[in-house]
Symmetry: C2
Subunit: 703 residues, 2 copies
């Protein structure tokens, strides 16, 4: 597997480009890249490859790549699938470094196509060639005037050069995104479509953009992911480089996932796992295409706020309320103004609402200076990291346009690092003018709030200490299949997940003795790695309060089991003290086919199954993340001393989650799943413990 | 209180208008309405009223309203608050029918202002004058060229005439909405701002628009509501008239509600109650301003689909998935195409995704007829009520614009009653062209899906039989304060809410006898209207299995109560059979200050308190709505036979909800609240019963 940190510089910034299947017919796939390069002034070498012509679109043509006789950084394959094999040999012979493969008819159409694609990439890899595609629209390095694409979208106009990099697995979406960016005036640095991702994936492009000096904001559109590790690494690189990543990942619901499977050759991972991934690696998952563009736009204009707290300045009380509602939904901190600042405003406008939202009322029409003065007071005295100024239809008159521009210039100069946004109806020209002053603007206040939620998320991400993940200190190789309960508990215990002190008994009298030594009451459970649902076979008895009841229970249980599971190999029974009180939780690990081990936390009872009230993180899970997993669950108030019960030992609980994650990392590829259910969080200071657990090793065939 | 069905025709369509405080100075409040009427050709009589002038803006001026000497349908008051009283006397003397009161300085500023407003409206009412305002921007009847507003927003351009009526409590929002409608090309019929709502409220405007032949779609922006009955009646009128109502109601969250209280003089009701109201009366509550406009726009262009099922036609598989995801979130039916239609498509495009979303792939660029052909097959063979056609950036080229227009014309002609929408990047001109063909279009597919969710909601509303509400057959007058448990249960029983068969005992031996006659095991509970939290004082004992245990429990309970609540008047103890099994629920009624009695349903346990997993309806609740309340709750699968338990008697449960609603209606103003907790739904066929209940009568002082 190619390593992510191999630079793709020669790919994205080639000094020489060859177009295999070059055409002189305008609009043909093999013509468009040459037309673009001619029109937009690529300042490297360009070699049309076509055995039937000496010259194409004013450029000298060559019969083969090898015939060029000079270094070729990038070869564009604009040829049918059937011709690819021969041209790849030619490329290898010519020492081509990188290929953009437009050709369709591979993994996206059939199993045969998939096999052909695998042969193709194996050959390219062996020759050290990197490749985008097949079945893609190619890429543009807009900042360097490189147009290695056959998408006709650029014929309708070029997008502005700017700081937003776009990577899209889908070509159709990529073209749409380019047009959308152009129509909205977003400035682009790089645009890539990855298609079938035989080699270069969305993750590789994110990783490269993380180091591309022209890219400050990364937009990624994904339909699936073949390699979770690469994606993690790429997102971490972008985060460490201070470049926000905004993602659209389609296939969220079951319906959507079914549609995705019929469309794409890639493996769509479980959606909650993607949510966890983006959260852990600091990317923002946009839920709609408008948010996707709105957020990238605002990031490119104003960046991430350096402080929290959101100030809302409005000329309409109702819209102020609407914005406050939306902000509360996103957990933004709409903190009130300091009293002195409120008093100042009331002295200006007696009927103003001075708290936050700050409503300067219709008074603004006769006293326009209120906008600047109030905004300044909010940023200075209110110390808001972000400020949204809602001015209704004001952006449509020249007088107010000039005023907004002046306010924007002054405030961004006076308060660097703060985000000032306008929500107002505007002409495109006026919006551009505000953009240039460093203020993003939105027609609709709800859009502005949703964008601010993302910007504030990136602020929190920046302020969060991203602790080095614990090195894996122990290694554990699990055998395929389930461990029995006591072995499961013992293994968990080694990784810091406490279990109830259980003991084995293999005979009735032993059970009685063990119970006596543990102290009554006790529980008795059948012990067998071949019985996973103990209750179903009558293999669990609770609240045994004396020796006699243990004796009777043992005999009855054995009788039931022999009837219900006559062939199961029994390891005896497990005797454990009956644990009372505490709060019931569920912990678990499952292996996601793409992302690897995923740790789960939930509260016990119906909430997990019916309400899906659980949280996920991809292992390794840090203590901070483990704590966040606990807090994320809607029923978590049950742990904080609900209705007079004692607060639970949340520290012990988070330690157990971290321990579970450590075990998952230690077991690596040999782990299938872990279920710890119930896991009891006792009152604070008294710890937490697993009452039952099953660790399952992965079968060899799936490793 | 003025009745809602009094026609406001002379208000909204006056034949004669006087402007009190008329001004010749351009831009003044008293000048603007006259300027507008002059510019836009009001074809009735216009009388400027100004004692200091003979002529204003080319119109003969009069010193007083009375001096006009002709009928005045509408007087616009463009004068300071201090001058209002005298002018109102003048208006009464002149026989003015209606007033638009721009004047500010009433209930929105102080208690004195509120009192002044009350005096004002009492006087107007006594004279039979209807009024909008005070503290409002007035109204425009765009369809009839009447501009009774001083908002300068019209100076920046007039909105198109069309079928959308807008009513806004807030003037600032109203002006913004007008400008937004104009910029987006929405056609308006009427525009009203209601300000302080001393007389005419948002509800009255909705009711009038329900009968206005020029209005087909109603947009309402509300900050609060003073009169729930009027709002219900208005929404029902609009629904019966087949006119969809789209609402923004601000003040959703606690933060928002706090801001609303500081801003508006009106009473903001509980938000969940508004949700219930809009649901019961068929209005759609838009959560963002963009949805507000998008939905009204689509309704005005294509109306409500006559069938369910949503078809998605896309040129990008990924965007198809995205749309399917969003549609699933909104519960839309993205049913697959019939097999024959799928086969047809695969014959055209072998690599197409033919189910739904239907992805015709990039093939469309070389075979543009695929769009029309596939869309037709989807509407004809797939029988989709709505179809969204995603064409990425196609709306930007002339060739594709012409093609889309042709497709739109043909499909709307061939399939009347269906909704066909485009999602594509477009120029405004192209969008207008599609609008004229009856197809709404959106740049972003997520917006289109959200709009379709609303359109489909209106379709379901139209198909739903809105049963006549049960007439109130019984009347019950409750005394202030709580009924004790047995009286509460007995009252509920009269309205069809079964209770556990409980009996009273006032002495220990009586308790023993009663328990024996009911059959063991029994529960014993202290009976006192003065003890609402029985458990807190040791007043509940469960599982008494024989005479001795009843005897002991009685004595101990009396001892505990005498200590814990020595002054409480006791009515004895209640003995009831111990109910086992069944599913625990909670029922309740509370009085909303605006909407009256609100019925609640929830599942027992922590879900109600921690997860707010409850449903509400405003009484009266029909059986259909009661059933919907049950299904709405996230934990409702517990009632359907969860994990091997028997399915619960949902019929009995819904009957109990209806019975509770009937009791609430019968008790009317005398009811404060009802709590039925727990309410047990037994296995299907075995009924459902209240195990405990408290009915509380409203204190006289708050009636």
């Amino acid at each position: 597997m190619t390593r992510i940190n191999e630079s793709l510089d020669s790919f994205f910034s080639p000094r020489s480009i060859a177009v295999v299947g070059a055409s002189a017919t305008p609009g043909k796939i093999g013509a468009i890249p040459i037309t673009y390069q001619n029109d937009y002034g690529f300042n490297g070498e360009l070699y049309p490859i076509n055995p039937g012509r000496d010259e194409i679109q004013g450029r000298k043509a060559y019969p083969t790549l090898a015939a060029v006789g000079k270094p070729i950084d990038l070869a564009i394959f604009a040829i049918p699938a059937a011709a690819v094999d021969a041209s790849l040999d030619d490329a290898i012979a010519a020492g081509v470094k990188n290929i953009v493969m437009f050709s369709a008819g591979f993994a996206e159409v059939s199993e045969d196509g998939k096999a052909a694609q695998q042969r193709l990439i194996a050959k390219a890899r062996a020759a050290g060639i990197r490749m985008v595609g097949p079945n893609c629209l190619g890429f543009m390095n807009i900042a360097r005037s490189i147009y290695a694409t056959f998408s006709p979208v650029v014929f309708s106009g070029r997008a502005q050069t700017g700081s937003i990099g776009i990577v899209s697995q889908s070509g159709a979406f990529g073209a749409y995104a380019y047009a959308m960016a152009r129509e909205r005036g977003l400035g682009l640095s790089v645009w890539v479509t990855t298609g079938n991702e035989a080699d270069i994936q969305v993750a590789d492009c994110i990783a490269w953009m993380a180091s591309d000096p022209n890219t400050k904001v990364i937009m990624a559109y994904m339909e699936g992911c073949q390699n979770g590790e690469r994606l993690k690494e790429a997102l971490a690189l972008a985060r460490d480089a201070g470049k926000p990543v905004v993602v659209v990942k389609v296939g969220r619901t079951e319906l959507g996932a079914a549609a995705a499977a019929s469309h794409t050759a890639s493996l769509a991972g479980n959606d909650a796992v993607f949510d966890a991934l983006f959260k852990q690696y600091g990317a923002w998952r946009a839920r709609t295409i408008e948010d996707f563009f709105n957020i990238a736009y605002a990031l490119s204009i104003s960046g991430v706020p350096s402080k929290g707290k959101l100030g809302l300045l409005t000329v309409s009380g109702g819209v102020g309320v609407l914005m406050a509602d939306d902000a509360a939904d996103y957990g933004l901190d709409v903190a009130p103004m300091p009293q002195a600042a409120q008093d100042w405003l009331l002295a200006q406008v007696p009927f103003a609402a001075p708290r936050n939202p700050v409503d300067i009322t219709g008074q603004v029409t006769s006293q326009v200076s209120l906008i600047e003065d109030t905004a300044r007071v909010m940023l200075r005295d209110g110390d808001y990291g972000s400020l949204i100024i809602f001015l209704a239809a004001a952006g449509l008159t020249e007088r107010m346009q000039a005023l907004q521009k002046e306010v924007a210039q002054k405030l961004t100069a006076e308060f660097p690092g703060r985000v000032v946004m306008f929500s107002t109806l505007f002409t495109r020209e006026h919006q551009r003018a505000l953009d240039e002053c460093g203020c993003a603007s939105f027609q609709e206040p709800s859009s502005a709030i949703r964008v601010l939620a993302a910007l504030d998320y990136f602020r929190v991400q920046r302020e969060t200490q991203h602790i080095d993940r614990d090195a894996v200190i122990k290694h554990v190789a699990l055998s395929p299949g389930a461990l029995n309960e006591i072995d499961s508990l013992a293994l968990l215990n080694k990784f810091g997940v406490a279990g109830v002190p259980s003991r084995i008994a293999t005979r009735c009298d032993e059970a009685v003795t063990v119970a006596g030594s543990l102290g009554f009451p006790v529980v008795m459970k059948v012990l067998s790695s071949e019985i996973t649902h103990k209750s179903d076979v009558g293999g669990v008895v609770l609240s045994l309060s004396n020796e006699d009841s243990v004796r009777i229970a043992y005999d009855k249980m054995m009788a039931r089991i022999h009837e219900a599971a006559p062939t199961a190999k029994l390891d005896g029974v497990l005797i454990a003290p009956m644990v009372r009180g505490g709060v019931e939780c569920i912990l678990g690990v499952h292996r996601d086919p793409v992302m690897g081990p995923v740790v789960m936390f939930g509260m016990g009872g119906v909430s997990v199954e019916l309400l899906k009230d659980v949280s996920f993180r991809i292992a390794p899970v840090s203590p901070t993340e483990a704590r966040a997993m606990v807090d994320e669950v809607k029923l978590s108030p049950l742990l904080h001393g609900y209705r007079g019960t004692a607060p639970a030992d949340i520290d012990a609980l988070t330690q157990a989650i971290v321990g579970l994650s450590k075990l998952a990392m230690a077991a690596g590829e040999t782990l299938e799943s872990i279920d710890v259910n119930p896991f009891i969080a006792l009152p604070a200071g008294q710890g937490a413990m697993a009452l039952d657990a099953v660790v399952i090793g992965r079968s060899q065939s799936t490793r």
